[in-house]
Symmetry: C2
Subunit: 197 residues, 2 copies
DNA sequence: TGTGTATTGTATCGCGCGATACAAATTGAC
DNA sequence: GTCAATTTGTATCGCGCGATACAATACACA
């Protein structure tokens, strides 16, 4: 009965996410989003609501996308796979695939004053997801006996999330050489040292 | 000959810094700064230049302040003191002293698109300063033989900066319990494991 | 105490922001 | 082909932003 959309909705979602990722929430204007999506303002409001709604959707899309990537890369393997995933993030290997620098969630967290509770809850949920993925990998090696009993899985997972977030924050500086990349080697070695054999 | 300033300049600088720290660069308006300093707009422009100038000054003040704190806490001691400083940052012990959550530099880094080169250079310089402080502490224990030769000081320092920045980013989320604080215990243990004895 | 200079207070300016009103265009159902 | 429903295009609106003009004020100095 009604007229159909003249554009691909998922493509537009991805374009909006990319824009927020590049410029941050406050730094992204509706005009920016029009240009990025090739849509007029009215269409954006029709399909995505207002600006806070759009940012919320971008947070959800980002969460889902990163979680899928992690699952694909670790896929029920243990610490070794986890170390590879984290090291790859620190080295910024996603950026060769055209991804913007840094992390939408870290950007949101460090500018929490400009956001609403519903946004911050998603950011917290994302951080918890990262922590949970780490715990799952650590649990696996604990069960198989590779991970010694002196390692506290809970706090170790939180520690690893700190490392990742810190590295992603540093990548925003876009220095000639990514200083966080050097830390990836230390991370691998540290995580290796946690194993018994 | 001229009339003298009707306010304390250093107090105003600190108030401006605090405001940028709380709300971020884009999130802080001239009206916010007027309220925070109890000054009128004209006085702000007279004493500090325009908004980018003010932010630049805040970055400098922040750098200098943190560096002084680190120096006072480590003061030519080695890894043990370094671990305490980093752990304290992760646990957010500064916040009990009335400091805002997070870190002005991390906030600036993760919103680099809104800043000018001169700002980003200061942020990079700050990160290098942190890295240098870590190297100095590691060097000290390397010289005394406590730090084994398998530890690469350069990349280890970068790794530690990642940990700190990630923890400070997480603190902006203001959760009931600071998740990064749990990571502090892991950091202490990890740094201890680097020592030979 | 007068005088000149810088600071302070008041009142804007122009601009871009997020958001909306409303008409024109487009599409599926009958 | 006609109608109803929805999307798209154009033209704004009100607001707060950073920034400034200009007069009034207050202070150091002669």
């Amino acid at each position: 009965m009604p007229r159909s959309l003249g554009f691909n909705l998922e493509t537009a979602r991805a374009a909006i996410l990319r824009e927020f990722w590049l410029r941050g929430y406050e730094g992204t204007s509706l005009t920016d989003l029009e240009r990025a999506t090739s849509l007029v303002r009215t269409s954006l409001y029709n399909s995505f609501g207002n600006k806070p709604d759009m940012f919320l959707d971008s947070l959800k899309l980002y969460h889902q996308s990163v979680e899928a990537q992690i699952d694909a890369a670790t896929n029920d393997r243990g610490i070794d796979a986890l170390a590879e995933v984290i090291a790859a993030m620190m080295e910024g290997s996603d950026r060769t695939a055209g991804q913007p620098a840094g992390c939408l969630m870290v950007s949101a967290a460090t500018h929490s004053a400009a956001l609403e509770d519903r946004h911050l809850q998603l950011v917290r949920g994302y951080r918890q997801m990262l922590s949970r993925k780490a715990r799952t990998a650590l649990d696996r090696d604990r069960a198989s006996g590779r991970l010694g009993p002196t390692i506290d899985i809970e706090s170790t997972a939180e520690f690893l999330v700190c490392v990742v977030w810190g590295a992603l924050a540093a990548q925003c500086l876009n220095e000639g050489t990514n200083p966080a990349a050097a830390g990836a080697a230390v991370l691998r070695k540290t995580m290796e040292s946690w194993l018994d054999n």
